[in-house]
Amino acid sequence: MALWQISEPGQSPSPHARRLAAGIDLGTTNSLIATVRDGSAEVLPDTAGRRLLPSVVRYRDDGSTVVGHEALASEVEDPLNTIASVKRLMGRGRAEIGESPYRLAANAEGTVRIETVAGDKTPVEVSAEILRNLGARAQAALGGELAGVVITVPAYFDEPQRQATKDAARIAGLTVLRLLNEPTAAAVAYGLDRNPEGLYCVYDLGGGTFDVSLLRLSQGVFEVLATGGDALLGGDDMDTALVAHWERQGARVDSPTTARRLLRAARQTRERLTEESTVAVEVPGVFSGSLTRAELARIIDPLIDRTLVPCARVLKDAGVRAEEIRDVVLVGGATRTPRVRERVEQFFGKTPLHDIDPDAVVAIGAARQADLLAGNADAADMLLLDVIPLSLGIEIMGGLVEKIIPRNATIPSVRAQEFTTYKDGQTALAIHVVQGERELVTDCRSLARFTLRGIPPMAAGAARIRVTFQVDADGLLSVTARELTRGVESEIAVKPSFGLSDADIERMLKDSIDHAASDLAARALREQQVEADRMLEAVRSALAQDAALLVAGEGERIAQRIQELETARQGRDGDAIRAAVVALDQASRAFAARRMDAGLRRAMTGRSVTEFR
């Protein structure tokens, strides 16, 4: 029973000011939506009580669409307009997709369109239909507008694929609180995020795909260390193997209908063998027999072997031994098969977690995360898995950008890099913090400027200044510059994502791709210019100090080369600048060597040999 406080007239709060939020597992074969109610996460069924929504959309010539079970049923009758497994096309260019059962065309930008009787559809639009259906299901069940959703994506999804998923949600009218990696969602569902730090493995064997991910948990953040899998291996292959076994025993597959009946029987047999040890198989007119759990194990073992190969590879890639894994999480309907569990247990040497419905575990984790992000739970429980949307770096000589934290690095994140001084006796360093993917500072977004003072005077290039970028859990960036010999330090804090809309981020990313070639050329030229300036500065400074060490004619030769380099420096030909730099270097090399000797003599004069031991 709740307790009330007195409100101002007309301002009594509405009950359930809780914001409705849901987690969506947008799968290749099936999708689900789950939400947290009264503290526990549950999958929301459709009006017929079905929890899984087949990820299938059928477009009809009257412009209407059918999603889910009905669409799946029409796959045989209307294969070209019934789109399944659209997830495989998300964020992909036409060139990246090989054979497809659909009529595919490419947009001007190279993205894929699927030709249907209702017109051309992009994979994003098809996914949006699935999301819209799930969203409507949730709003009907929860009786209100969804404040936001968390959608899961495979850990290996790259930026365009993630962006496509977000776009689909936007078209479906859903607000995306966050995209969450599928293995991370599964780990969250088991509450592993409340565990101490450690390594976790997620074994996800679905209907048609196999994924294995190695996660590292530290300070409440899951980091995906390695992923592997097989895009064409799943529970469906077990059914096919079982049918092949029955064919060897005399079952005759003479029509697609018979094949489908046998496949259905295979799936049922496999499911029943989860509970029973022997099952009678009866496909009237086609096959009659029985199957034991041991026989099934023998039939599917070669397929399970194929899942363990990527598991071994993932461990090897990350340099991790199986016994270092704290827990293994099972995801995907096919992991219900006891033999799969047994083999995974043998491989990792520990009993995998399997008490949450493996079909729902990803959606449940996403629902938990959505509940947190919608502000319904204590911030202390918050799981932080954001990534940095655009690279963060500093300006270096010549107006170039040196990236320190690359984009997509997980938040929180700390990276450091050492820089040095450019001029002799330089005692301060201006630090300009920028954000963006471009090579030149002028094309990036300026975030902050500050100056590190108190660097002890030294020759150019001798000072060591460590610049540390730290993005904390709230996305706040602090930049620290520290001179390492004397320890002087200076820092600044900025909020890098402030004022940047998704559209800005998208435009900045797109610009960086569009301008990649010209940026690189500009960078190369600037680098040569900086090198020329550095060289000129160094030689002039040397001439001013030690003109006495010049031999006859040497001063003139060097002056000539300086002149040539200055001329080249004004132009825009990087190669010419480089050649002039090399020429000046050669002309002044002997002089530099004499300076070095003289310097050493000065340093050693009046000291005994033992001092140099």
Partner: protein
Amino acid sequence: MAVTLTEGAAHHVRKSLETRGHGAGLRLGVRTSGCSGMAYVLEYADQVEPGDQVFARHGIKVLVDAKSLVYLDGTELDYTREGLNEGFRFNNPKQKETCGCGESFSV
């Protein structure tokens, strides 16, 4: 037909009204909302509206509009502490069920 409040509740209402500086009394009501159908209203009252019933208890004027009184008849408003949380509680004999969180109810 009556609505009452406990001495503890009256004490807190008086203190709250003093802090606020003005107000004719306390308004209790219900409105339709929430998953179990209705939600309580607990507000300061700046003036008596036509149709309001006024109940005076422990020196506090409690205002209830005629429509709400149907659902609130017999209700005693209490002030209580539950763990770290303290606030007013509606002890309503007509209330049959509440939703899980108790924020809305039905009669």
